[in-house]
Amino acid sequence: MNIPMSWLKDYVSIDCDIKTFVDAMTMSGSNVENYLEQGKEIDKVVVGKILSIEKHPDADKLLVTKVDVGSEIIQIVTGASNIKEGDYIPVALNGSSLPGGIKIKTGKLRGIESQGMMCSIDELGLEKEDYPEAAEDGIYILSEEYPLGTDIKEVFGLNDIVVEYEITSNRSDCFSVIGIAREAAATFKLPFKYPEIKVKEIEGNASDFISIEIDNPDLCPRYAARIIKNVKIQPSPKWMKQRLIAAGVRPINNIVDITNYVMLEMGQPMHAFDYDKLKNKKILVRNAKAGEKIMTLDGEDRNLDESMLLITDGESPIAIGGVMGGEETKVTEETKTILFESANFNGANIRLTAKKLGLRSDASVKYSKGLDPNIVIDVLNRASQLVVELGAGEVVEGIVDAYPAKREPKTIPYSVEKINSLLGITLSEEEMIDYFSSLEFKVNKEAKTLTIPTFRPDIEGNADLAEEVARLYGYDKITTTLERGTPTVGKKTYSQKIEDIIKNTMEGQGFYEIMNYTFESPKVFDKLNISENDDLRKVITISNPLGEDFSIMRTQTLNGMLTSLSTNFNRRNEEALLYEVGKVYIAKELPLKELPEEKSKLTIGMYGELDFYDIKGTVEVLFEKLGMSDKVEYNLEQGLSWMHPGRCASISCNNKELGYIGELHPNVAKNYDINTRVYLGVIDISMIEEAANLDRVYKPLPKYPAVSRDIAMLVKDEVLVKDIENIIKQRGGKILESYSLFDVYKGKQIQEGYKSVAYSITFRASDRTLTEEEVNKAMKKIINGLETNLEAHLRE
């Protein structure tokens, strides 16, 4: 909300400098976002009168003028074509400045000296739209004769400071000059001067002109009207226009300007109807009927529903209550008699209507916040007062006011002790009472109660009162302490520790953590080659997304990972090792009836000089860190349509699915514009939490030497390394310490359909040095097993 200081000062006598003012207002709760010192950039620009105009001898398009600027007569060369002798115009003198840091100095134009510049409205930093009389492209010709040499800032009223306040939604009363004036008065401990409202009426009786009926007082608690006769539509006076412009409202004509002016000043919107266009002498406020329509004064046809509130003349709709008036009954140049509406509407309903219609008017924005019905008559009278003052018409005696249930101020108890203890301060009751009084809360000291004016519905109890006290006392004066409550232990949970281990281990192996949006496009499933009937397609859809690309909650984390890999690949980063810890959202039932499952996933993605065994090694290290590697099994996985059917392993642990790793299907890689092999892994973190073992027990270091034997065997291609290792494990006996694969070979010297596999097997006993014989026996058992179960042929 923009408020010119001059306007504010009508109601509170602020005399400190602007910096002190805005700081104090911010600290008492009316946050100042910015302030603009009007005309600050304009200097030495005055009113001048054109005495003579001659052609420039050497330039067709230039004119040489003599201009009287009060103190002297100067020569100005100009290219303007809209001036004539005798015009009063703004003149930037030698050494002057204009908005945008422009400096004007005496200089020569095509050999002729020019001692200043005549200004257009743009050059003065003003909006052309605010000054419709300004020439489309030329010097601004003043409409009045000012004393020559008058500072142009006075002419345009540019001596004001406009302060922009950030008003919080609980303080609808502060969306007004008087609301902020009241706050300023309380902040600076100054008296607040409420506007003096007196209406000079002409004889008559408003109720002869109109009657008012409210069908639904819940949505329209109050509706009041006055009749203005002999209306003369014309421009508003300069002072009013200047204030409106400063507050950011464009002047239109006196009647529109008055309603806007009063809205800014008092905080409540008004509407003016052309009385003669009403079909009946009646205002009926009712809900719209289904299918009912109205053309609003912006020329749009609006389709209404039964939740919306209509103002009608008993027959046809004439306005959408609190949102916008109708086209048919709007005030025009021909209007003779006006019905002034001042009403109160239910804020929530107005908000809903405005939202449904997509119609955010100034009125709907104000009404949405919920206004005080007890201000209705003051608003009506203030507008009527201005009508008389501006000579815009004559006010017929009497007000028609429908106010079925008067809103009374509420009385609430206060507790000095509770307020003090909530804030951690020790103010006296007297000090608090001073603050309450400055906010117009009526204090009853005996009963320890406050009567709260109806414009402050936000005040309900001691917590609210504490805030009022604190902000007027000063948040900065409240001392800082540390809590003295019961101590608690700050500690990470088991799951949080697991997550830390995962992240640290991934980073230790060279992976970078990434973050992705958790909603995405429904098109990703096709891109990922996920089949039509896959459960992953059962997605939770956002009903009002930012666009299709952000419309579904992800059920898989691949798209985010692949998009990131693609970004890196296409920016020519040679390799990328990435991981993400993030959620997927799995609905138990669609449409959603209960909260979905949010599952944390570890997603690994990489490309570069890598192969399947790099990603396998990565997860193996991770499982080792988590103390679960001996429980983990890998099996060829061919059921994932987005993965390479021959290079993907499902990972399970205690027969429960943990996730998978493997190479991305080349078709999917192509869909993501990645022209290289991509390795992916997805692991369920809740399963890790279940399987991980963070307990460690020390095993004594061996005292006796180990014996190692290498064997190489020929096996059929289909035989898996896992099968060989199972046999080594089963048959190695107690003395088997470890085994490691050191060679797999196919090719020359090896029969077609076979491969050579070589292991180094290590034996050790913890209590003695092994004999040759013991080791031979164990090896024999292993070899027998391999030969009989896997048809392995030992190679010598």
Binding site: G29, K369, S421, G424, T481, K503, Y512, S543, M553, N568
Partner: protein, 339 residues
């Protein structure tokens, strides 16, 4: 024979004195001490000596052998040392050449900031709480004192799934869920993703991260809130930072405030970044609204509390001098490597 032995010794020693390489040393060993060596041959001739002479010559022969062996050892050590010396000299390298780096990854910058904050609060006795991102109307709004027709519902442009479910607009629902389950004292922080329908640009994102905090106990005051958050700000931004609390409005706290810290760029003098005010807004906070406590089953007459919340992206951006929010989700390795 005596002379012969002397001659062998002198010859060997003098040869050894001139030896320049280890290989020659072995030859000399073989030549004199080997099975067919000169000294061995002399000793073989001892059987022809008389019984008197034999021990004398024997002793002399042993002495000669010892002497040669000793000399051999001496020369060998000397040569080894020289060789080592030479090798070390040859092995001079250019230490200014680049090192061989082991690959290591990094945390996402946002999580680095989150961890820093988390650590500060863990140290002050706070636990970390988590909760669902898809929330019910009750937890996201109602229980936070934002009833159906409250204007605050408009301010937080909410993504809805349907009438009953939405993407949480803040991490505050976690606070309510914790208060429902846990009796005071409660000290938690709740980090997480939150969602608001802002179109993507350099400073807006429909998904962002918040970290909120909640304390509920007996005798918790607004001055405690100020104290804790001041400690936090100084831990995060350094001792020199100034803080100020401005009145503000949130439906779920009363009194409410916003905390500003002195502008990290200009130190409070006023610059472009802080729009000349000298302050940067960091977080919102306040005393937990009695209605919120009541709805969570905590008696506001017995307990009070405070809550605060801040946006992680903003903190990370100001900490690292990042100007465009979109970098956080682009995940370009060259960006991620910098933190």
């Amino acid at each position: 024979m005596k002379d012969k032995l002397q001659a062998i010794r002198n010859q060997a020693i003098s040869l050894l004195n001139d030896v320049k390489e280890l290989k020659a040393l072995d030859e000399i060993r073989v030549e004199y001490l080997g099975k067919k060596g000169q000294l061995t041959q002399v000793l073989r001739g001892m059987k022809d000596l008389s019984a008197e002479e034999r021990p004398i010559i024997g002793q002399l022969a042993n002495e000669v052998r010892d002497e040669i062996e000793q000399k051999l050892e001496e020369v060998k050590n000397k040569l080894l040392e020289e060789e080592q010396e030479k090798k070390l000299k040859e092995e001079v390298i250019d230490v200014t050449m680049p090192g061989k780096k082991k690959k290591t990854g990094r945390r996402h910058p946002m999580n680095l900031v989150l961890e820093e904050i988390t650590e500060i609060f863990l140290g002050m006795g706070y636990k970390i709480a988590d909760g669902p991102e898809i929330e019910t109307d009750y937890y996201n709004f109602e229980a936070l004192n934002i009833p159906k027709d409250h204007p605050a519902r408009d301010e937080q442009d909410t993504f809805y799934i349907n009438q009953d479910f939405m993407l949480r607009t803040a991490t505050s629902p976690i606070q309510v869920r914790v208060m429902e389950k846990q009796k005071p004292p409660v000290r938690i922080i709740c980090p997480g993703k939150v969602y608001r329908s802002d179109a993507v640009d350099a400073t807006h994102s429909p998904v962002f991260h918040q970290i909120e905090g909640l304390v509920v106990d007996k005798n918790i005051t607004f001055s405690d809130l100020k104290g804790v958050l001041e400690v936090f700000a100084k831990e995060l931004f350094g001792d020199k930072v100034n803080v100020r609390f401005r009145p503000h409005f949130f439906p779920f706290t009363e009194p409410s405030a916003e905390m500003d810290v002195s502008c990290v760029v200009c130190g409070g003098k006023g610059c472009n970044v802080c729009k000349g005010s000298g302050w940067t807004e960091i977080l919102g906070c306040g005393m937990v609204h009695p209605n919120v406590l009541r709805m969570a089953g905590i008696d506001p007459e017995e307990y009070t509390g405070f809550a605060f919340g801040m946006g992680l992206e903003r903190l990370a951006m100001s900490k690292y001098g990042i100007k465009d929010l979109r970098l956080f989700v682009e995940n370009d390795i060259r960006f991620l490597k910098q933190f």
